[in-house]
Amino acid sequence: MSLQMISVILGSLTIASALMVILSKHPIRSVIYLVITFFFISAMYILMNAQFLAIVNMIVYAGAIMVLFLFVLMLLNLNKEMEPETNRMGIISALVAGGTLFLVLITALRDSFQYGKGYTMVKVPEAGLVENLGKLLFSKYLVPFEISSILFIAAMVGAVLLAKREKQIID
């Protein structure tokens, strides 16, 4: 089995599990399928030799963010009748709009399709290794890196302030 086979199988599995995210009725199933999608995407990163991003994707997305989603789902304690219903007209128009977006994007990137036909990697790409990315991150992109930590603090304070229970006035 060649690597090309593996990547085609991985790609179709990714698309299938992404479809299951929006098709499954229960939100917890959506979360599980999204985690599976992220694992497939990480596998594609490994296939493209972007090892650092594969690990970060697995830790941050499949680990932290999805656990956060599951936590909120459990916290809200949703039941069946809480699921908002959708109307048929909206679904049809959304499908038409999404399909049109798909076609437009495919057409827009068709030039790169033709360009990419002959364009293949000559040697194993080394851009995604930890050493190269670390050198870039801590020299050229040091200031954005530090600013992102400020962003995290702001997000943390904001989340705590937003989700804090307000003082109830009891009369």
Partner: protein, 107 residues
């Protein structure tokens, strides 16, 4: 053909996968009414963009796009936190996770 096999499939395949992921996320945002699933679809679209950036970065042998992907992941984490806390606040006020609930903000 041997050189192609170094990285798996060709460039157009990865572009196709990421466009498909993005469109699926967009369709999900348009169809679903559940706020949590909506946030998840946004994450799906962000991941499609990440996949495209990593693909081009790998094919052109330049690591800078992967730094951008790193920052996208950072921003996505912050965004998910804020979005979920807004969701909790909205649920506490209206006991519903329907996105239509936000029509009330219309005044």
């Amino acid at each position: 053909m041997e050189q192609l096999n170094n990285i798996g499939a060709s460039l157009d395949f990865y572009i196709f996968v990421s466009i498909a992921l993005f469109s699926i996320g967009a369709i999900g945002v348009l169809t679903r009414k559940n706020m949590i699933v909506l946030l998840m679809c946004i994450e799906l679209m962000l991941n499609a963009v990440n996949l495209l950036l990593v693909t081009f970065s790998t094919f052109f042998g330049n690591g800078e796009a992967q730094i951008f992907v790193f920052f996208i992941i950072v921003v996505a984490a912050a965004e998910a936190t804020i979005g979920l806390s807004i969701l909790i606040m909205a649920y506490r006020n209206s006991k519903s996770i329907d996105i239509e609930m936000f029509h009330k903000l219309n005044g």
